[in-house]
Amino acid sequence: MSAERSNTKVYLGVFAALAFLTALTVWASYLDLGKGRNIALALAIAFFKVSLIAAFFMHLKSEKRAVHALFYGAALLALLLFLLVLPDLGLP
């Protein structure tokens, strides 16, 4: 049963982390670190939160290879679309 009990503690821990990160990202947005660094910081925090949710809440950690392949495959292709279109329309 102890394994079961610790589950709840893990979830509450992740919850606290997510709440803190949300507050952090809002606070960080008020800092003026220059346009590029602000974007990078906000996206980094968002990415960290996303991986927290995926790993613990969606139990991605304990899933089999096939699911990992799907998750990373989709994320990679979304990034590919974004990275390859940006230079064309991005810098006028």
Binding site: L81, L84, D88
Partner: protein
Amino acid sequence: MTAAVHREESFIGKWIFSRDHKVIGLQYMFTSLVFLLIGFSLILLIRWQLAYPGRPIPFIGDLLPDSLAPGGIMMPDFYNSLGAMHGTIMIFLGIVPLGVGAFGNYFLPLQIGAKDMAFPTLNMSSYWVYFVGGVLMLSSFVLPGGAARAGWTSYVPLSVISSGQTTWLLAMTFLITSSLLGAINFIVTTLNLRAPGLTWSRLPLFAWAQFVTGLILLFAFPVLQAGAVLQLLDRVAQTSFYMPQGLIISGELSQRGGGGNALLWQHLFWFLAHPEVYVLLLPPMGIVAEILANGTRKPIFGYKEVAGSFCFIAVLSFMVWAHHMFVSGLKTSLSYLFMTTTMTISIPSIAILTCFLLSLKDASIRFTVPMLFSLAFLPMFGIGGLTGLPLGFTPTDVYLHDTYYVIGHFHYVVVTGTLIALFGGIYYWFPKMFGRSMNMFWGKVHFWGTIVLMNLIFFPMFIQGLAGVQRRLYDPTVQLHNLTVQPTNVLMSYASWGLLLFQVPFIVNFFWSIFKGARSEENPWQATTLEWACPSPPLPHVNFEKVPTVHRGPYEYSVPGREADFWPQNEEN
């Protein structure tokens, strides 16, 4: 899984809203064949206009409403909608549902020894969403505003300001949803419901092709869904995702907020559309692999190379899309990248073709009708693939882009490549689907007529392309540089009407044989894959009497030391 209690279903349950993958496969087949015929007949009207510009269309001319073809003479707007709907219907309503929807739904579960798809209800709804999308797309001809007229690629801003596009976009959303539902089913079924012993290296190449196609559909279609929603909002809600600042449309300055970018739609569209053309290509390659192995009585040469090339094509197809945009204002640095990835993706296609050609060596070739179609696929797809090289290579693409060379290229790949292979698939699997075989004499008549006439239609397109004839021209004779090659249009038009005649034997043969064809036993072609291990037509809902177990690779033909020259996958000894 307790044995399915077999309650007697009503006609509606059994045929209309059936959850059996075989019935859904047949529904897809009949609907897509009807749509192929409709799409084909649209282009026959265009062929008259291209051969004899401005002259009234003989028989059908006066049947057409005056708003479209006054006095039987086709108007440019009607011409553009015929061209746009021909492209859309043939690709999204005809070939993909036939290759993926019909053959995939019917034979993927059989080839992996499963009772049905992973999610039968999802599978049924995918057909009915496709059906609604198809009806909506066709109804756009009669709705006010007429059919879409900005090409099957519906480039903005033309597609935002011209009429008929809203129904096109709505119908496309339905078709995209249907393909996504189908893709989810294909991936989970292939991953999860394989018969015991059916490892990945024993999976038939047709099943490999359908699985990889499912993955391509899954990752590529949602991006067009996003693009279509943005275009729909641009049309309906006056937003300007794609509409640049300060457009002057027929004299007046447009009041839109502006700020959008016209190239964004091309990026989103081609991010889907290039993987989509590989969705058109992979299932037929799977079918050709099956038929070639069976017809040459020899394992396919390089099974691992072909399966690996399927996956390599699937991955690379997401990195080549901008070769459609070399002259559209794409930055030159990007065009170098996309030129290289496009050339790299030609390698796996050549590898697959080489493996198929090397399968003919040391073989014992039977010239059955499916084999005729598969053998014809090889040179025809060869021309299609090779003519893709000058289009992927930027210096030559500058001249050949948007000319008839491009149309010749993709028709050689899609018509004399994919469609011929799908015809071969119909002749090959007809006995399994209906328990009767099609008439082989009329099959050969259909084959020779179709192949010869298709070449008469599509090969002159390269000559026109090199002469610089642009595509989608209502009246080519207005441009002086098209005059010399104009006679080819007359030849191509007569060939296309002849092609319609040669489809009649196929249609009659197809429907006549369902009821009156000669009875055929379970394994008429003496093939080795699992779909031949069940009665034909397979048992409703359970397919196999007992779940087959797989003991060897998919193409064990002419195994030394065995008297029968084929060794089915599910036989123990």
